[in-house]
Amino acid sequence: MKKLSKDTLMSFVNYGIVILFYIVFQILASTGNLSSTMKGQLIPIVSYVIMALSLNLVVGISGELSLGHAGFMSVGAFTGAVVSTALTDGIPNTVVRLLISIVIAAVMAGIAGILIGIPVLRLRGDYLAIVTLAFGEIIKNVLNCLYVGVDRRGIHFSMNSTGALDLQEGGKVVINGPMGASIMKISSFTCGIVLLLLVLFVIQNLIKSRHGRAIMAIRDNRIAAEACGLNVTKYKLIAFVISAAMAGAAGCLYALNFATVAPKKFDFNTSILVLVFVVLGGIGNMTGSIIAAALLTVLPELLRQFQDYRMLIYAIVLVLVMIATNNEKIRGLIKSIGKKNKQESSGKEAA
């Protein structure tokens, strides 16, 4: 058998981690050993992992600092809310409805990604970071004044008030400005895991593809890449839009797990939270993003016993993790353990 390259091996490790996570929690749930706290967090964890992966595509692979990723998540969340409500009567099967909602949410977030990406990606460095931040806030504020209703005639939009929607009898207000969307819960853990595997598949294969190599070449040396004839804006846009679409899908999965979702949720803080997942997991490291997003989502809940000092301790943990992962000694230790294992296994093979 041809020996797998290190990259291919790592991508299988990532699929393995996700599948293992799924199997473990399915077993725990079916044997009744899963606490309500953990059970309620499964779908948010999956959503945040997808968010972290998609942001890692922009920050780690494309090398652009984006601070407005929550904006795309909210586009997906609210699109998903409207689509799933509009289809409630048409498609009674919740799984099909969820999948359609996620696809449309991803498409809408992707379109938002194109619209924002075209002007933004002409900028570089700090300017790009600040403009993405601004666009994230713009999306939030637009959603704050958006009113959407669904009745038999179709979907109605307004930027003024629910009264301006002019709904027929039996119509339903889906998005009510700052009060957010009211939603039927249809997200499922299994669908989330399938989506996560799909996202992983797309990202990992993109990195290995011709396009991926072009994107990374631009990251490493823009001038050299341009001199080789690569269209910089095009390749950056590809990474940015794919990332936005994935964030939209994550947002849809997230929103449809709660009965309500407000635009306020997707503010600057959420963007930074996802960036923290990416940075702590290691920029450009997909395995790290998965683990960091999952652990850091659960951590505040595990710290509940500390009550008011919870977020303080959370911050201390973040700092400690940051120091630990950047410490030469600790890094050397981890590496030496890895080498030891390799030696052992190769030793066994030889024997």
């Binding site: 706290t37 704050n144 700052p178 009060m179 309500t260 407000a262 949720k265 009550q307």
Partner: protein
């Protein structure tokens, strides 16, 4: 080396098995108690109720969450000190005014074994949690989440505060009926569910009662420091009265800035305005003549309020705001409801009752027309099947730095 590992493992397994045995013993003891049926012969209420509270104890809305938490604590202490054999085991969980965290907090309380929830404090998280509670059949009584979305289509969900439509339309009617003004201006926070909820119902009711809305301006959480544009608009429009369906921090700035530009109008607020007099660094003379609809005034002289306010000041060193009063009434409403049920059904022992059973019991009592209870936020409070409370709003005006009933 191998031996050491093995011995540790064996020790661990043994320790675990001991713990496991202990757990099974406990469980059998519990089932034995359950078999006794949950009734006591004499119609009295006994047992320990596990009451959970969810609210923002940290973060930007912590003021409200902590106020409710403190109010509930006082009520629980009082009920536990009655010596009736009924005790409340109370636990509060933080949600940071976030729907996701709120559902986590709810699940945490469920793992703790909560039987009834007093919460959640703020509206958006409450909508998310009430959907969970509805599918789990967990009874919820929110002290302060006022949107109708909170109770809509959920029979297990009740409000202790007025719903937004009630506040908005009650304000409009009060202004019209008492001829306070005909030309009205509004400033509201359009990034806040509470504020825009009241605004919408106020506008609808204003059209009915013939109020003229001459100026409508908004602000958001991010822009609540400068109101010069809004106030200039009001000055131009010639409004006689400004309706402020907002919280008191923003209102205090509006009063200051209106004073600077010499704007002379009447001000009318809702329950979120309560607390303005105890705001640090605020010149209370600016709030002179402000009218507000509130279910609670800390300087009322009835026994219930005096008792509550003294205890609150003693324990927490501050005057309770309306949220604290709402919180204080929640455990009492639940306690009185259980007492009512026990008296009419030959007693009740709540220890280890499932949340489903308690939910059905409490729904039946709360929707029972014969049930009502007194609290510091209103006398003879009763509830309709939609989960909305029925109590009279009090209109007060601020005179010489204190509330005076209108």
């Amino acid at each position: 080396m191998m031996k050491k590992v093995l011995s540790v493992l064996v020790a661990g397994v043994m320790a675990l098995s001991i713990v496991a045995c202990g757990a099974t013993n406990d469980a059998s003891a519990n089932t034995g108690a359950d078999a006794n049926n949950n009734t006591t012969a004499d119609g009295s209420l006994t047992g320990t109720l596990k009451l959970g509270m969810i609210g923002p104890l940290t973060g930007g809305a912590a003021l409200y969450g902590n106020a409710v938490d403190h109010g509930v604590q006082i009520a629980v202490e009082e009920i536990n000190a009655l010596g009736t054999g009924f005790q409340i085991d109370y636990q509060a969980e933080d949600d940071e005014h976030d729907a996701e965290k709120s559902v986590n907090a709810y699940n945490q309380l469920k793992d703790w074994g909560a039987q009834v929830i007093a919460g959640t404090v703020t509206t958006t998280p409450c909508i998310a949690v009430s959907a969970e509670a509805y599918s789990d059949r967990m009874f919820m009584l929110t002290p302060s989440a006022s949107s109708t979305d909170v109770t809509a289509n959920k029979d297990n969900m009740f409000q202790l505060c007025f719903s937004d439509p009630n506040q908005g339309s009650a304000s409009a009617k009060y202004i019209a009926e008492n001829n306070l003004a005909t030309d009205v201006a509004i400033i509201y926070n359009n990034s806040d569910a509470y504020s825009s909820g009241i605004y919408q119902t106020f506008v609808d009711a204003a059209a009915e009662v013939g109020l003229n809305i001459v100026s409508t301006t908004t602000f958001t959480d991010d822009t609540q420091n400068d109101f010069s544009v809004q106030l200039a608009d009001i000055q131009q429009s010639g409004a006689e009265l400004v309706f402020l369906p907002i919280y008191y921090q923003a209102a205090s700035l509006i009063f200051q800035q209106a004073d600077q530009i010499g704007l002379d109008v009447k001000w009318f607020g809702v329950d979120g305005m309560d607390g303005i007099l105890s705001l640090e660094g605020f010149d209370t003379s600016l709030a002179e003549g402000v009218m507000l609809l509130t279910p609670f005034a800390a300087d009322a002289t009835d026994d219930l309020t005096v008792n509550f306010v003294t205890k609150f000041e003693e324990k927490f060193g501050e005057t309770p705001i309306q949220f604290a009063a709402d919180g204080y009434d929640c455990p009492y409403a639940i306690y009185r409801a259980l007492e009512y049920y026990a008296a009419n059904n030959g007693g009740l022992d709540v220890t280890d009752m499932s949340n489903e059973e308690l939910c059905e019991i409490l729904i039946s009592v709360f929707t029972d027309p014969g049930f009502s209870c007194d609290g510091v936020t209103g006398l003879a409070m009763s509830w309709n099947a939609a989960g909305e409370v029925n109590k009279a709003p009090k209109a007060v005006v601020i005179e010489n730095g204190v509330y005076v009933g209108l």
